[in-house]
Structure formats: structure tokens, C-alpha cells
């Protein structure tokens, strides 16, 4: 058990730091949240810079153009980029972390050659077509139909929660090819170009007023059979192999960003008037800041444990579901604390300018955190997973 970095890891970190120190000042200001063309350019531009510097596909094997880093190096990469304020993976998310790894493990050489280099260079935006409105937590009950017609699958149905669907070039799409088979056995994984006729993308407005999620409607969309990855009706397994690329790093940027917010909140507490003094002098507020820091530090330690397990065994430990469940609760407490501190100023959301004095971004964050216990498996589902897979409690029938 050693949390210290090895000499190689220190070298990796220092080299990365040096590069970030040079690269970041050249970026300019990020685009506004509604300017999708500019956002695409920004995200893809950063990916290209990573590619040129040798940091693209950090966790991809080198034979597929990736860097082939260890999980610890991946952790260092995320820590340092977050720490120094580098752009987030953004709309490269699906290509880098889902579709790319899946193609590496399951696609044909032609499919790989067509897409992997483009993904690494920031030339293709991918989106995910897994979720459906009527499936929800029961993902495998998806009903988007694909009927074989010669060299094509003819796809009709609806997907939801497709991030960046309106910007994407390709979709990793799960469709039902055998409605008679048990639900996990009749699914097929397709590469779907988003410019095919019959695809309609409608942005979803979230409770926070943002619109990075979309609904995607498929009306007899003809997808070539050569776009299939894996066998017909074997798509569920194909979709699941992505998880073998998981190494406990999924929430690192999120967590470290949150720790930054907490430090800002502590700063803010020292300046907000309260009870004739400042919020910092309120025992309850100050202690809650301390408790939250303790929990975030612990979650950071848990992350290092999960990453270390991935490094040792190739598979992350069971800490992933624990992390997600626990983090959602703690971050909600932080959002509540912000409201308590802000008192009447909690009426106002941040303007885009980010009025720090009033903490309006913390109010916006209170909306965002509502999604933490829902997205990518609700907290209820996480508890089932922990109860059944880790603790061995019997499944409900």
C-alpha cells in the first residue's frame, strides 16, 4: 500500500505538467454553452492537440494508436488536466471512452481503420444510442426494431439521453433484431452514421435549462449490415465489453472539480455576512465544510484504491458503484449547504458571467446534482448491484 508515485509516474506527471503549461495558454476562451459549432471546434481542437502531443487515447493500447498508459498514469492525466483547468473530454466522450474501446475489442479491421484514427485525431463525434424512454433502468428491454432487408438493417424506434446527438457524426446504436429471444439475446450493436435519411434529433431541455441531451427518432433508417459490430443478436455482450476498459477513472474530473468548488465555498463563507459575523463563524456551516472535505478526501482515496486494483488485476474493484452512490449523496449535501449560506441570494442563478459574490453558480449546481443519483444507473440500481453482486443478497423475482 503506497500512495506515493513511482519515479516513472513522477516523470510522466512532470512531462505532462510541462506540456500543459505550454499548451493551455494558447487556447483562448471557451465558447458559450449554446454555440454548438464553436463548442465542437473547441472540443475537437483540444483532442487534436492531445493527439499531437501523444496523449490521445491515453488508455487505448498502443497498437491502436493509443498511449497505452497504466491506470495510475490515467489517473495522473485526469488529475493534472483538471487541476490546471484543461478542457474536459467534452463531446469526445463517447468516442474516447465507449465506442473506441468497443471497436478495439470487437470490430473488424476495416471498421477499426475507418474510425479509430479519426477518433484519436478529433475528427469524429460519436454519440450513444442505448437508452430508450420505455426502458429506463431496465436498459436491456430496449425496443428499437431493426429488420434485416438484404444488405441493410431497417431501424425504427426512439432513443433518449443521447448526449450531443445533434452534433454527432456517428452513433453507437443498440437495436432489437430478435423480439422473440430473451431480452439480452436479441440485441445487435450497429455503427449508425447520423446523416442517414429518417433520423430526427430533438434536443431535450433539462431542468437546468441546458440541452446537451437529445432524443433521436429513427423512422425506417437503412443501416448497412457491414456497420454491424459483433454478431447479430450478440450486441448486449458487445456493449458490455466496454466496461472491461473501465479502470475506476470515470469520476475523477468530476470529483476534483467538486473539491475546487468546496474550496471556493470556504472562501465565500469567509465573506458572506451572517449573524453579525460571517458564515465561516457559524459552527454548523464551518463544520459541514470540514465534513464534506473529509468525505471528498475519502472518495479520492477510494478512487486510488479502485485504480490500483485495476492496475493489479486489469479489473477495477467493486468501488465504482459505491463511489457513485456515495458521491451523489455528499454532493447534494454540498448543494444544500450552498443554499443555506446564500440565504436570499439563493433565489438567483448565475448569469453566464459568473457572479461569484452571490454564488449563483452554486445554485445552478444544486439543479445539476439532481442528475447524479439518476444518470448512468440510478442510486436504487446501484444499491441493487452492491446488494446482489457484492454482498450476495438474493435477487428480487
Amino acid at each position: 500500500m503506497d500512495i506515493r508515485l513511482s519515479a516513472e509516474e513522477v516523470a510522466f506527471r512532470d512531462e505532462l505538467r510541462a506540456w500543459l503549461g505550454e499548451a493551455l495558454p494558447t487556447l483562448g476562451n471557451p465558447p458559450g454553452s449554446d454555440d454548438w459549432a464553436a463548442r465542437r471546434e473547441w472540443d475537437m481542437g483540444w483532442q487534436r492537440k492531445l493527439y499531437d502531443a501523444g496523449y490521445a487515447g491515453i488508455n487505448w493500447p498502443s497498437e491502436f494508436g493509443g498511449r497505452g498508459s497504466t491506470p495510475t498514469e490515467h489517473l495522473i492525466f485526469l488529475e493534472e488536466t483538471t487541476r490546471m483547468g484543461a478542457p474536459y473530454v467534452g463531446m469526445n466522450f463517447v468516442a474516447q471512452l465507449h465506442a473506441g474501446p468497443t471497436l478495439i475489442l470487437e470490430a473488424t479491421a476495416e471498421q477499426q481503420a475507418r474510425h479509430l484514427p479519426a477518433m484519436l485525431k478529433g475528427e469524429e463525434v460519436w454519440c450513444q444510442g442505448f437508452s430508450e424512454p420505455n426502458a429506463g433502468s431496465d436498459l436491456a428491454s430496449l425496443s428499437t426494431r431493426a429488420i434485416r432487408d438484404g444488405d441493410h438493417y431497417v431501424v425504427t424506434g426512439q432513443k433518449i439521453w443521447t448526449s450531443f446527438g445533434h452534433v454527432a457524426d456517428y452513433c453507437e446504436l443498440l437495436v432489437r433484431t430478435d423480439p422473440e429471444a430473451p431480452k439480452h439475446r436479441g440485441i445487435t450493436w450497429l455503427i449508425c452514421p447520423m446523416d442517414l435519411p429518417g433520423i430526427e434529433v430533438r434536443p431535450i431541455t433539462t431542468v437546468a435549462g441546458s440541452s446537451e441531451f437529445c432524443e433521436v427518432f429513427f423512422d425506417e433508417v437503412r443501416i448497412p449490415v457491414e456497420n454491424r459490430v459483433g454478431d447479430e443478436n450478440d450486441g448486449w455482450r458487445v456493449a458490455m465489453v466496454t466496461f472491461s476498459f473501465e479502470r475506476g477513472t470515470a469520476f475523477i474530473s468530476e470529483l476534483l472539480g467538486t473539491m475546487n468548488q468546496l474550496a471556493e465555498m470556504a472562501e465565500l463563507a469567509r465573506s458572506i455576512p451572517r449573524n453579525g459575523s460571517t458564515a465561516w463563524d457559524d459552527d454548523e456551516i464551518r463544520r459541514e465544510i470540514g465534513r464534506l472535505q473529509a468525505e471528498y478526501d475519502a472518495l479520492w482515496a477510494l478512487t486510488k484504491r479502485v485504480v490500483s486494483q485495476a492496475q493489479r488485476t486489469g479489473m477495477p474493484g467493486p468501488g465504482g458503484s459505491v463511489f457513485k452512490l456515495y458521491y451523489a449523496d455528499v454532493k447534494k449535501r454540498m448543494a444544500d449547504l450552498a443554499h443555506r449560506m446564500l440565504e436570499r441570494n439563493a433565489l438567483v442563478l448565475a448569469e453566464d458571467s459568473g457572479d461569484e459574490q452571490t454564488g449563483g453558480d452554486m445554485v445552478a449546481s444544486r439543479l445539476y446534482v439532481l442528475s447524479l443519483s439518476i444518470a448512468a444507473g440510478t442510486s436504487e440500481i446501484q444499491r441493487n448491484i452492491i446488494g446482489e453482486r457484492i454482498l450476495g443478497l438474493p435477487k428480487e423475482r
Binding site: S131, I160, H339, R344, L347, L349
Partner: protein, 353 residues
């Protein structure tokens, strides 16, 4: 003692609920965002039914009911998500002639005023009484509200205005009470929406309400709501017993607020004061927390859909958040109650002869 709703009170609730269902259906309510929260036509209809003149004595042209009834009505308005400066307009009835009236506490720095675009007047509470500021005197800068149906504006400094009352204690307590009533209604609306979804939404081949994770969450929502409601109704009865319908109490003991300390005067005895503070601030805390938690749980029960603008879950939560920072933070109210925890806690409960 008969702490159940009377037949008249049940009829009153039903009437307001019918009114809301008929005139303030959710599409109409959502549409009010386009007119800054208040449509004068609809607002007039509310006024015509007597919603705002409820506690004005009959001889002065009001409905002549009590604070208990005002709470019941506001509970229904909250449940239907009816927006607008409801609290200020009710309290202003019979005091000023304006139709759309905001209410705010005076603080040293800039003030956040709700519904700034649609007010006729703003009443300002401070340690010296209540002051009417004409809407024309208000210059504000729009700010982005947490609740799409509670627009807010930032006023650099509130004008002094013209004094319309010399007491604040009664006004402040009533404002707290009416806000609490709206929040009990929000907690109810959010619970009803969640339960309906839990009954209908299927996952893993059964309605999600069959899973204990969802069923028990709904049970907790109902529990919070019922406890908060009991607290609210109790506060209404105590208000009627100590202040009388329509009668502003004389200046009274302190109510901790953000900006000012409000003194209690002589008309209210120690005992009534203690009772009133515990009842009103208690209702405040329970109603605000029930609305907040039920709003969050309603989002969670809806899963991904709960995170969309299209589903109404967030509207309950955001309204709860917009109402909570009004008329004293929950922490202040908790401190206010703590000061009333006495040597004989039951003296408080056993004297309502």
C-alpha cells in the same frame, strides 16, 4: 377540541381546488412565465373569488374568515403551482388599494424583489412598521431566478416609501405562515405526481411503485407532508386564537430576520407569544423541508424524465426553493424556536382552554 376541517372548510378547499383545476391547469401555469408570472385577467378572477380578501372583515367588504382558512386556501394554491405575489397581495388587502402587491423585508444592501415587472406596489417590512413603495419608484435589474415562475429583480436600494402600518410582528408572522401554506401545498403536489408516476411507470415488468425503494420513498414523502400539514393547521389555529381574523396584533417580540430585529410589544402575552413563535416558525421549517425533500424525491422517482424540463417535477422543487429564503432563513427560525424551549414544555400545549 375539534382539529378536523369543518364542513365549511372542506367546501372552501374543494372550491379553491376546482378553481385551480379549471383556471390554473398546469399548461396555463407554465404559460404564465411569458407574462412575468401574473396575468391580470386570471389574477382578477382569483381576487373576485375572495382569495385575497379572505381575512378582511365582512363589514369592510372582505370574506371575514380566519387565518386557518387562509392557510387552507394557500395550500391549494401551492399544490396547483399558482405563481404570483400571493402572500403580499393577501396581507395588503384592506390596507392599500393595489391589486398586485409584493412584500419584502428591508435589508441594508441590494434587495431581490419577486415579480418586479407586475407589481402595483411593494410593501416593505422593517423594525418600524410596513411601508408602501409605489411600483413606479422601483428601479431594478432583472436577475435569473431559480424558479421560472418566480421572476426576480435586483433593486440597488429600496425606497423608504409611505408608512401603512406601525407594527411588523403580526405582518411578519403571517407572511411566514402563508409561505408555509404554499409549501405544504407544493409538498402535496409533488407527492401526488410521484405516486401517480409510480403507479403507472413499468420497469422490469412491474409498476415501479411495487419496488420498496420507490414505495418507501413515496411513504416518506407522504409522512413529511402530513406532519408539515398538521404543523401548518396548528399554526393557523394559534394565529386565530392569538391574533384574531383580520386584526393585526400589536407590535410584538422579536422575530429574527435577515436584516432587522422585530420587537414584540405589549398586546401579546408571554404565553401567546411563545405559542405563536413555536407554531409559526415550526410550520415554516417543516413546510420548507417537506417541499424541498418531496420536490427532490419527485424528481428521483421520475428517473431520467424527472431531469427534463417537460416533466413538472422540477417546478415543485424550484418553487420550494424560491419560497424558502423569504421572511427569515430556516436557521433563524430554528434559533427562534430554540429560545422558546422552556422549562415546562407542556404548559404550552395544555392551556388552550
Amino acid at each position: 377540541m375539534d382539529f378536523e376541517l369543518s364542513d365549511d372548510q372542506v367546501a372552501l378547499c374543494d372550491g379553491i381546488r376546482d378553481l385551480c383545476q379549471g383556471r390554473f391547469d398546469i399548461d396555463t401555469v407554465r404559460g404564465l412565465a411569458d407574462c412575468d408570472g401574473v396575468d391580470r385577467q386570471l389574477w382578477g378572477e382569483l381576487a373576485d373569488t375572495g382569495v385575497f380578501s379572505l381575512v378582511v372583515p365582512e363589514e369592510d367588504g372582505g370574506v371575514g374568515l380566519g387565518w386557518a382558512e387562509a392557510g387552507l386556501v394557500f395550500e391549494q394554491l401551492g399544490r396547483a403551482l399558482v405563481p404570483g405575489p400571493l402572500v403580499g397581495t393577501l396581507l395588503a388587502a384592506g390596507v392599500v388599494d393595489d391589486s398586485v402587491v409584493g412584500l419584502i423585508e428591508r435589508t441594508d444592501g441590494p434587495a431581490l424583489v419577486e415579480y418586479p415587472d407586475v407589481l402595483d406596489a411593494l410593501l416593505v417590512l422593517d423594525g418600524d412598521g410596513v411601508w408602501r413603495v409605489d411600483a413606479a419608484e422601483l428601479s431594478f435589474e432583472a436577475a435569473q431566478s431559480v424558479d421560472p415562475l418566480t421572476p426576480v429583480g435586483r433593486v440597488a436600494k429600496l425606497p423608504q416609501g409611505e408608512q401603512v402600518s406601525e407594527e411588523t410582528y403580526g405582518w411578519a408572522n403571517r407572511a411566514v405562515y402563508l409561505s408555509s401554506a404554499l409549501q405544504v401545498g407544493l409538498a402535496t403536489g409533488a407527492r401526488e405526481l410521484a405516486v401517480a408516476y409510480a403507479q403507472e411507470r413499468q420497469q422490469f415488468g412491474k409498476p415501479i411503485g411495487q419496488f420498496q425503494a420507490i414505495k418507501h420513498k413515496c411513504a416518506d414523502m407522504y409522512s413529511r407532508e402530513e406532519v408539515a400539514r398538521a404543523s401548518l393547521y396548528y399554526a393557523g389555529c394559534v394565529m386565530d386564537a392569538t391574533m384574531g381574523p383580520g386584526l393585526p396584533a400589536e407590535p410584538g417580540d422579536y422575530l429574527y430576520f435577515h436584516g432587522c430585529t422585530i420587537e414584540r410589544g405589549d398586546a401579546l402575552g408571554d404565553h401567546e407569544h411563545r405559542e405563536l413563535v413555536r407554531a409559526v416558525s415550526g410550520a415554516r421549517i417543516l413546510a420548507a423541508e417537506a417541499a424541498d425533500h418531496n420536490g427532490k424525491d419527485c424528481v428521483q422517482v421520475h428517473g431520467g424524465m424527472g431531469f427534463t424540463w417537460e416533466i413538472d417535477a422540477h417546478l415543485y422543487l424550484k418553487r420550494a426553493w424560491a419560497l424558502t429564503p423569504c421572511f427569515g432563513s430556516l436557521d433563524r427560525h430554528a434559533e427562534r424556536i430554540a429560545d422558546m424551549v422552556g422549562a415546562d414544555p407542556l404548559a404550552y400545549t395544555s392551556s388552550m382552554g
